[in-house]
């Protein structure tokens, strides 16, 4: 029964706490979107967000009011994701729900890009590149903010985003998007083609 806490090490006013709660609540949809992009499966993504919310709440004294709640919670989510990744809980699985939606082509563009293709292609990227692209290309963070979130140099983020963009562009242009597992036909074909290129000795020329 300790509803009064006489010696708080970092005293926070009730207003601060209410502000924190409000900001945390506001950022939940963004956490869900980031998590969905990272791990693909909606149910697992939501578990990850719940874990993030609990951790953020527990660590709220470490949040500096006035700084970006979204960036702060993304760091927590990212770390939770990486921990789970190491335990092999996520394997970048494909979100079937998105497959139903089609991105309508803007005027002047020849063929529509299927959101499902884009999402599938996204999930085949290396995790660090996918993350960088999500932060910058979808979340709208600057390179500098993304670098802070990932704990790496700005140049590293730029290079990851660049490589992610190049890989996606190539996959979408060729329509050769590996499905979720390596026993899939497209992935298999991609591997075989790469082997052919290696055999022909021209792999270097295909990758700028």
């Amino acid at each position: 029964m300790s509803d009064s806490d006489p010696t708080g090490d970092t005293p926070r006013s009730a207003t601060d706490k209410a502000d924190f709660k409000r900001e945390l609540t506001e950022v939940v949809p963004h956490l869900r979107a980031f998590a969905r992009g990272l791990c693909g499966r909606p149910d697992m993504a939501d578990d990850l967000v719940q874990e993030t919310l609990l951790k953020a709440w527990a660590a709220q004294d470490r949040f500096e009011p006035g700084t970006s709640m979204r960036a702060w919670t993304f760091v927590i989510l990212r770390n939770a994701y990486l921990t789970d990744m190491r335990r092999n809980r996520f394997r970048g699985e494909y979100d079937e729900g998105v497959a139903e939606r089609i991105l309508t082509a803007p005027a002047g563009q020849e063929e529509p890009i299927h959101l499902s293709d884009l999402h599938r292609a996204l999930l085949t990227l290396q995790p660090e590149r996918r993350e960088a692209l999500l932060l910058v290309g979808a979340g709208g963070f600057s390179y500098e903010e993304a670098a802070e979130i990932c704990g790496c140099a700005v140049g590293t983020i730029k290079s990851r985003v660049g490589r992610a963009r190049a890989a996606l562009t190539e996959m979408l242009a060729s329509g050769n998007i590996p499905r979720r597992s390596s026993d899939d036909e497209a992935a298999h074909r991609a591997i075989l083609e790469e082997l052919d290129e290696v055999a022909a000795g021209n792999l270097a020329s295909t990758r700028p």
């Binding site: 806490d5 709660k21 945390l24 609540t25 939940v28 949809p29 963004h30 869900r32 979107a33 980031f34 969905r36 992009g37 939501d46 967000v49 719940q50 874990e51 919310l53 609990l54 951790k55 953020a56 709440w57 527990a58 660590a59 004294d61 470490r62 700084t67 960036a71 702060w72 993304f74 760091v75 927590i76 770390n79 990486l82 921990t83 998105v98 939606r101 991105l103 803007p106 563009q109 890009i113 959101l115 884009l118 999402h119 996204l122 692209l133 999500l134 910058v136 290309g137 979808a138 709208g140 600057s142 390179y143 500098e144 802070e148 979130i149 704990g151 700005v154 996606l168 562009t169 979408l172």
Partner: protein, 74 residues
């Protein structure tokens, strides 16, 4: 002296020429942002007030926000 430094390609924004699928990426993200929040989140958010952050370990795990020892702000 520093003139051999590479010129920044298009300043520091993510403003290099966006590929045609760039809107789709944003759309994927926004489609989740705009989803109605599942009840499980509303329940969790409502429950947070009952968890005293300073007692921390209600969830069992370490509350450290950054396993690598750094926060979002330096």
């Amino acid at each position: 002296m520093a003139s051999d430094r590479k010129p920044p390609p298009g300043s520091s924004g993510p403003s290099q020429r966006a590929p045609e699928w760039a809107d789709g990426l944003k759309q994927l993200y926004d489609s989740v942002v705009e989803e109605d929040l599942p009840d499980s989140f509303k329940d969790l958010l409502a429950r947070l007030d009952e968890i005293d952050p300073r007692r921390g370990s209600g969830t069992g795990g370490s509350p450290s926000p950054s396993a690598d020892g750094r926060g979002a702000r330096g």
